[in-house]
């Protein structure tokens, strides 16, 4: 294993490429879960032994609480804070910390009690009150039978290739290559996204609940209105806990889902289907959600943007049905770093054989949380680098494009997402992304760079 000291020495001696690697490792090691650091664990054990004999040493008790939180031993921290509260039952800072710790353990009722007590005592400073209020609404929702969570995102987005035009302007038309004088078009658009989630808690100890999810997303292009898009998607299904499962917290959710969309302000894709997803918490910090889904798709071939009735046979999305097997996962690497990932395979069986395709999709994101620039904001900010790879393989060649070569794309995308909450209700989200589609047919060799930024309202 690398230690910070050995990394520092290697960093000094290394040449440029390796120095970058060592610098990244050194940066990561600062975010490593502290329970991997032997010195922290040893220090905590020594403090525990010391405090057992001298429990009224407040400085050491606070240190023990901090180290326990750092090492993920929230129960030890709770025990120590409950003791401090016995020394002073009106110590709002201890009530506040206890509330947050109970929330981390999923004991939302206890969390709510302590956080409300902290506020009611009335001597917390403004930033501490903001921190509590930023969480309390969500914690209280978890205690309700009917829970509604919502988020509205809006903003502006600029793209260098809004019309997804081939980078070199070359087209295969019936197997013959032509150079088009048409060009890619950059454009700016406004966007809005409304996400609403409703959970109806059956209030049994398996955690069974009915989950309803709805999302509306729309864009308005400034110069190419034919590429305006709107998508409404919804799903509903019960989630059942499986207490007999060998792993605690396993649940299964059958669901039905639907989607309706417009392109260029005309109806485009409509789909409906059903699926089944399972949540398996492998450990306390790692869970996976494997599932599968079937959808029936209908694409309006008369949509004008879609190239008209004949050329709609070239579009990637087509009428037919699609079967997807997927697995998503979340790994809480440390208090401040979380990894998200998703892998999916989709077989799209189109009514027209030339539009039948297989797609493999990999997505990965590292969510790195850091302190906000102003304490008054009350919540951590997140910067999240992400990467995506999609392999798209059509089964048959499309004669309109090339009668002899079936399309095969490898798309790479990467970027960074920023989540910057300002208070419990409002924040900002920004995104920078570069995507490059490598295809065996020139028509689809393209890249696109986009930047987006806008406010987020949570309710």
């Amino acid at each position: 294993m690398f230690s910070q000291r050995s990394l520092r020495e290697k960093l000094i001696k290394a040449r440029a490429p390796r120095a970058i690697i060592y610098a990244i490792l050194a940066m990561c090691i600062n975010f490593f879960p502290a329970n991997l650091r032997a010195d922290t664990v040893t220090q905590k054990s020594e403090l525990a032994a010391n405090l057992s004999n001298n429990p009224s040493d407040l400085d050491k008790t606070y240190k023990f609480v901090s180290l326990s939180i750092e090492t993920g031993d929230y129960e030890a921290a709770i025990g120590a804070l409950e003791r401090i509260l016995m020394f002073n039952p009106r110590l709002s800072r201890a009530e506040m910390e206890l509330g947050f710790l109970y929330a981390r353990l999923g004991a939302f009722q206890a969390a709510s009690e302590h956080l409300n007590s902290a506020l009611n005592i009335g001597d917390l400073n403004t930033s501490q009150q903001t921190q509590i209020r930023a969480q309390l609404a969500d914690i209280d929702k978890r205690n309700q039978k009917n829970r509604v969570f919502g988020r509205i995102l809006a903003g502006l987005r600029a793209q260098t290739n809004a019309n997804f035009f081939p980078s070199n302007g070359l087209f295969q038309i019936g197997g013959v290559g032509y150079g088009s004088t048409l060009r890619r078009q950059g454009d700016v658009n406004s966007y809005e996204m409304i996400q609403i989630a409703h959970d109806y808690d059956f209030e049994n100890q398996n955690g069974d609940q009915l989950e309803t999810r709805g999302t509306f997303y729309a864009t308005q292009q400034f110069t190419i209105p034919t590429l305006n898009v709107s998508v409404f998607s919804a799903s509903v299904g019960p989630r059942f806990g499986i207490p007999e499962a060998p792993v605690r917290g396993v649940s299964v959710k059958p669901y039905v889902a639907g989607i309706a969309s417009t392109l260029g302000n005309q109806n485009y894709l409509n789909a409906g289907g059903a699926g089944l997803v399972t949540r398996i918490p492998i450990t306390q910090t790692f869970s996976i959600d494997p599932g599968f889904e079937w959808r029936s798709l209908f694409v309006n071939r008369n949509n004008a943007t879609n190239g008209g009735y004949v050329y709609s046979t070239i579009s990637t999305i087509a009428s037919g049905d699609a079967v997807t097997g997927y697995v998503s996962g979340i790994f809480q690497f440390s208090d401040r770093i979380k990894f998200e990932g998703r892998a999916a395979f989709t077989r799209a069986n189109a009514f027209l054989a030339v539009q039948t395709s297989d797609q493999i999709d990999f997505q990965g994101m590292a969510r790195i949380e850091f302190d906000p620039p102003n304490k008054e904001f009350g919540q951590r900010w997140t910067v999240a680098p992400f990467i995506r790879y999609t392999n798209l393989r059509f089964m048959e060649a499309n004669p309109l494009v090339d009668p002899w070569i079936a399309r095969h794309d490898d798309m790479w995308a990467g970027g960074i997402l920023l989540d910057a909450p300002i208070n419990e209700d409002i924040g900002f989200m920004g995104n920078i992304e570069y995507a490059n589609n490598i295809s065996n047919i020139s028509n689809y060799k393209l890249d696109n760079f986009l930047v987006s930024l806008g406010p987020v309202v949570k309710f």
Binding site: S56, R83, F87, P89, G179, L182, R380, P399
Partner: protein, 319 residues
């Protein structure tokens, strides 16, 4: 000196007795806080008022009156808070810190307690006997209150609890859920504990106004606590935008790209057709010998975005 068999037997018993005493006198934890009156006693001996920091031993009985509460810190960092009007016996606590192994058994005969688990309950589990059921704790944090109208209240705050008696066994796995174990042996189905019940229970375990947990010296202040504890915001309960949101953007872009692919193909093909039509017109004009008479200005109506055939013939027949 002649050593008889009786002497050897006496010596052996003495050694065993001494070892046994050494075991029973082992310090298994300490009093972390205490509001009087809270008393401790061993082997039904005389009781004494507990003092903060005082060692606790196996088989120690802890009793509180209507004003008394205490917290015991065990060697594995687990803690037990004994509420007012309560009686608890530490049946057994054995802990090997090097192996993180041990056993932990408590018994409550009156009142209320909060148990917050440590290494033993994490690894092997701890158990708390009540008059109506035995509670197995994996993890975790549990609150127990005897003498409720429905029986003994057993509430989970974290981890897993197994509540069992001769007739029944129930597992509680969701934080905030509880069961009642009645005198008849019945154990209720787990239910969400009402807030007023948990609040009353928490109050029974807390220091009353004016009490200071036996602390000698000044009480902890908010200023000190704020300085000593990290002021960093905790992680959010609801995660901010992530892959789920990006997938919405990507889904929108997939629809646009799907349509744009077709539209671009149509536009490019139409360009070729237009160029081919123009080319055919030019060829026909050339055949008639009229090409030379066409003025160069304003010129041929070459459409914007004209296309240049690169090789071969047009693959798509004209409509």
């Amino acid at each position: 000196m002649k050593i008889t068999s009786n002497t050897l037997l006496f010596l052996l018993i003495s050694v065993i007795t001494l070892n046994s005493n050494a075991f029973s006198a082992e310090n298994i934890g300490n009093v972390g806080a205490v509001n009087q009156s809270a008393k401790g006693s061993l082997n039904s001996g005389t009781s004494h008022s507990l003092v903060i920091g005082e060692p606790i031993q196996n088989k120690e009985k802890i009793e509180t009156n209507s004003a008394g509460t205490t917290q015991i810190i065990f060697k594995d960092t687990s803690t037990m808070t004994v509420g007012r009007n309560s009686s608890v016996i530490i049946d057994e606590f054995i802990y090997n810190p090097n192996a993180n192994l041990g056993t932990q058994g408590l018994a409550i005969t009156k009142g209320a307690l909060r148990f917050v688990g440590g290494q033993v309950s994490h690894e092997q589990g701890a158990s708390i006997k009540t008059p109506t059921a035995t509670v197995g704790i994996r993890g975790g944090i549990a609150l127990i209150k005897l003498g409720m109208p429905q029986g003994t209240l057993i509430l989970l705050q974290y981890g897993t609890l197994t509540v069992a008696n001769a007739e029944n066994m129930i597992t509680i796995s969701r934080p905030g859920f509880a069961v009642y174990a009645s005198d008849s042996g019945a154990i209720s189905e787990p239910f969400k504990a009402p807030i007023d019940v948990t609040t009353a229970l928490t109050q029974q375990l807390a220091s009353a106004p004016g009490q200071n947990g036996g602390l000698k010296g000044s009480s902890p202040t908010n200023l000190d606590a704020t300085e000593a504890l990290n002021s960093v915001p905790p992680p959010s309960i609801v995660q901010g935008p992530g892959l789920a949101e990006l997938n919405q953007f990507w889904a929108g872009n997939s629809i646009v790209q799907s349509g744009a692919n077709a539209a671009n193909q149509a536009a490019a093909t139409n360009q070729v057709r237009t160029n081919e039509l123009i080319l055919n017109q030019l060829l026909q004009l050339d055949k008639k010998g009229e090409l030379a008479h066409i003025p160069t200005t304003p010129g041929l109506p070459i459409p914007p975005g004209g296309i240049t055939p690169q090789a071969g013939v047009l693959g798509i027949p004209p409509p």
